[in-house]
Symmetry: C2
Subunit: 197 residues, 2 copies
Amino acid sequence: MKSANTARRADDPRQLVLDTVLALFSERGYFATSVQDISRESGVSVGSLYHHFGDKAGIARALYQTLSDRMSARISWIGAHRKTAHDQCRDIVRTLFDMTESEPLVMDFMLYAKHRDFLPEEKPICSSKPFELARAMVAAGMVSGEIRPMDLNVATSSLFGGPIRIIVSRLDGILQAPLTHYFDEVWDCAWRSVAAR
Amino acid sequence: MKSANTARRADDPRQLVLDTVLALFSERGYFATSVQDISRESGVSVGSLYHHFGDKAGIARALYQTLSDRMSARISWIGAHRKTAHDQCRDIVRTLFDMTESEPLVMDFMLYAKHRDFLPEEKPICSSKPFELARAMVAAGMVSGEIRPMDLNVATSSLFGGPIRIIVSRLDGILQAPLTHYFDEVWDCAWRSVAAR
DNA sequence: GCTCCTGGAATGAACGATCGTTCTAATCGC
DNA sequence: GCGATTAGAACGATCGTTCATTCCAGGAGC
């Protein structure tokens, strides 16, 4: 094999760093994690960190960008492969639940990155790319008559607010059972809040 | 007047400091606010700060305690003066909306204090005193038959998740109109998600 | 095939700035 | 006159960042 992309995940210093800081930021927080910590834990020298990311905030920005893009891709896929707003939104919630269970650190970072003290210029999660995609699906559902006519912000918040709050509860350790256990009940409540009839 | 409490708000150094740090933490964040900043802005010397609060985290803890107690008091009052779970929860949402408009900094701090990097030992907002009170009202509503039988966490999250998400949108500057404008629609959606019939 | 050259990548000791905290002396209220 | 409170200069620790240096892969010239 030609191995055109010689940068395997294990050897690519960028990916090595991003994997490391996701864990460090989640367990200690951004400000309690020093650049020296990142260097030691990832095995990448301080000089390399600055070569690749510019500054400390650049590491956080790169991490957010990567995770945000991944989530956008998943949501876009759902939008293309499900027809009704009901099915699209349902699958989004299911994906969010699955991600929370399989990659809780990722979910935690995505939900709170903007509101933590770093990433000052980034816009809040609710106006970021992934959420914009979801909002568009809700809008389409309102046009098609699946969803009652109302303010678009109210509809989107009502539909996803409950599921997000359950995710937060799970991340905070309040819920012992995996989110799969709650999915049907949560989605039933969420859809009732905006369904046309 | 005897003026038994000689510590008027304007002269009480503790209250002076808490008012100051609420503004500073909200606009710059906890870690970007130095103790020297707090001293300069509040007019209280560094020595006094440490005399009254012990350390920097103590200031944040005191602020959280004060605001949390105030919110608990309001929710308790509602619990005592409204009979049905519907009216109780509705008034809680209205109070949250009102607070968001009249004291956005307070609301912002309450919603995100636990998830910011400081206050490490505090439990997350959803298991704090104010939210426990609200959860109890939901539980009572389920017993009385106002709310469909379901997992208590699911019901509470579904009922307050939408309103909280709208509050976050407003705090982030996404919504231009005051929350009063959205209240009826938001509450209608929220209640539909859990109402018995 | 061998050497030299080149530029991107990696290194980590060192730097200045700033942070939270301490401490001693001064001041206030009674 | 005495404990509680205030004052703010000073301290050690630690932070993010810099930079002179080394490493290394691969193309050019012969």
